[in-house]
Every structure is written in C-alpha cells, then in structure tokens.
Amino acid sequence: MQVLYGRHHVRVFRFGLRLVRDEQVAEDLISEVFLDVWRQAGKFEGRSAVTTWLLAITRFKALSALRRRKDVGLDDETANAIEDTSDDPEVVAQKKDTSEALRKCMTALSPEHREIVDLVYYHEKSVEEVAEIVGIPENTVKTRLFYARKKLAELLKAAGIERGWP
C-alpha cells in the first residue's frame, strides 16, 4: 500500500483538487480513495490501468464531497454559474501573458470540462480510459473535450486573447 500510495498519491491529489478546489478536502479525498483501494484490492481485475481505477474512484469521491458541500454542482447551468474566486481572466490578459491567461481560463471551466481536459492532457488518458473513468460513451468523451476547448477559446477571447483558433 505504501508503494502504491507513494507512486500515485500526487496524481490523485491533483485530480481531486482540480475537482473540489479545496486542498483540505482534496487531502481528505486521497485518504478515502486509498482506504477504498485497500479495502477493495481483491476486486481490482487488472482489466484497466491502476491509474484509471484510482482516478475513477477519486472522481466518485470528489463528486460525493461536492454533493455534501452542496455549493458546486456538475450540470452545465450550475457549473457556468460558478464564480471563480481567482483573478478575472481579463486582468491576467492585461499582463500580456497568454500562458498565464490560459491557465486562469482553464480554472474557470466547469468541473465537467476541467476534468476532461485534465484527464486527456495531464493524466494522458485515452478516449477509452476517460470513458471508463467518467462513465460516458467514447464519442461523448471526444465531443465534450471539443466543447471544453471551445469554451476555453471563448473565455480567452473575452479576455482579449486571440490564438488563431477558432
């Protein structure tokens, strides 16, 4: 368990933190995730990568934590209504730092969009693995990521940054 924890806890923490946006909750989350893994180790069938299994559990735990907090929902309306507590993307864009603006806009994405962007880009999960983690069809994985990118482009455009796409 120590080896498994040592190898994957940072990845689990970061994925959880991006979903729940609270370090304390994210830390509690990883304890819950690895405790579940310890309890259910016999159920792991090895059909998917360990990280896929861990991220799926993390996602489930994060959504449960969000529901408990009742301050963040996962539907688009609620997600779009989330007020980002960080700097306004426009303020960041004024610094003429596209990269930083991009990162800020990424944090402003809805939880649904954030998780798909993170899973594909940071956790380098394939279409099939994302479908397994999120529990959606593979085609939905592809279209959801496309619309997450579209939303990101809109946020950047609103911040005065044009990237040549769309």
Binding site: M1, R18, E27, R103, Y121, E129, T143, G164, W165, P166
Partner: protein, 238 residues
C-alpha cells in the same frame, strides 16, 4: 481534399478535429495517429488548431504541476484508518501459501542449500527403489507354458493300462487376454468341458466330459482346443 477542420465553431466538428487533443497527448492508436498525421499534413487550418491544442496541452501540465503535493497529514490519516480497520481473514489457501513462503523465507541461504541437496538425494533414492521394483515385476510380466509334473492332481490315481486312460481327459488351458466370458462359456459348452481347478499362473484346469478317452483321442482333443482362437495354450494334464 475536403478540409478536416471547420471554419465555424457552430458547425459540428469533424472526426479528425475531435482526435487532435488525443494525438497531442499521444494516446491514439496507430491507425488514428496515422489518419491525423495525414490530415495535418494536408490541412493548414487543422495544423493551426493543432498548434493551439499543443499550447493547451503544455499549459494544462504546467497548471497541474503547480498544484503541489498533499501534506504528510493525508498519509498519516490513511494509515491510521488502515490500522483501525478490522483484521481481514485470509482464505485458507492464501494463509497456507503465505505460511509456506514465510517458512522458506526464514531459512538462511546455507540451510536452504543443504535442504535442497538432501531433497535431491532423497529423490534419487526414491527413483532407485521404484526402478528396482519395476525390474523385479518385469520378470513376472510374462509366463512360460511350463508344467510341473510334481503338481498334485485332484483326480483319482490311475494306472495307464496301455492305449486308454481310465479318467476323463484334462488339460491346462490359458485363454487369450482378449477372450470374453461369453466366448469362454461357449467354448466350454462346445467341448463339454468344465473348470475343475481355478486360475494358477494364469491357467485353468479343464476336464472334458465324464468318460475316459484313449490317449490319441485325448491328444486330438487337446490339439483341437489349442487351435481355438481364444485359447493361447492348451496342454494335456493328468
């Protein structure tokens, strides 16, 4: 070639466009990777979009890496929770294998080497014993049609008075290994024979009829019997 990218975001994205982020992350299979490569080579608009995706990819990694790592509190909490969990009962087989593993793990390399040597010697001795038993049994796996003249006869003691014998003829018979009971019964009926003595060295003692026969008649009968398909050996006997 039709452009793979869409000029307007309001339009449905093409299949290749949908695959671009996965191509950037290197998670596409070989076939899709080749398709995207070919489309990128022939569609400048798609290549521009791909450049934007590469930027998103790099910044997502940057963003996530900047999140840091959890404190030691998370790990302490986890292992405290694991310690508080009730002890799980392992299955008997797992327990047994674990105990066997633990036993061998507890032996020093020297002890383990000596044990292995003793085990090998024991195996050789066992093989020798088995071989000796097999060789011994092999001598008894075939039998010759010898007949002991000293064998006591269950019939009455008679004296040969010339060309005839006073008692019904008898013969020691060995049936073929594949002879069936039905065949043997039929043969006994045909020859009006009965088994007067049980199996001895794989042979039966048969008596033919109730009347005495001349020596020639008895010899002829035994010869005829010996030529039967299910009889492998027939020898006249007192």
């Amino acid at each position: 070639m039709m452009a793979a990218s869409k000029k307007m975001l309001d339009q449905e994205p093409s299949e290749i466009e949908l695959l671009l982020p996965f191509h950037a992350a290197g998670t596409l299979n070989a076939r899709d990777t080749r398709r995207v490569d070919e489309a990128l080579a022939s569609d400048p608009a798609l290549a521009r979009q791909y450049a934007v995706i590469r930027e998103e990819y790099a910044e997502t990694i940057h963003l996530n890496e900047s999140l840091g790592a959890p404190s030691a509190r998370a790990m302490a909490k986890l292992f405290a929770a694991i310690d508080a969990e009730p002890v799980r009962k392992l299955s008997v087989s797992v327990n047994l294998s674990a105990r066997v593993s633990a036993f061998f793990a507890s032996l020093s390399p020297r002890t383990l080497a000596w044990s292995a040597t003793l085990g090998a010697v024991a195996l050789l001795l066992q093989a020798g014993l088995i071989g000796a038993v097999l060789v011994k049994n092999q001598n008894a796996s075939f039998q010759t049609a010898s007949l002991s003249l000293n064998e006591p006869s269950s019939g009455p003691i008679t004296r040969d008075l010339g060309s005839s014998i006073a008692t019904p003829p008898r013969a020691l018979v060995r049936f073929a290994p594949d002879a069936r009971i039905a065949d043997i019964t039929a043969l006994l009926n045909t020859y009006q024979a009965s088994i007067v003595d049980g199996v001895k060295d794989g042979m039966f003692r048969l008596q033919f009829g109730n009347k005495a026969m001349s020596k020639d008649e008895a010899a002829s009968l035994v010869n005829r019997l010996a030529s039967e398909k299910i009889v492998s050996l027939a020898v006249a006997t007192p």
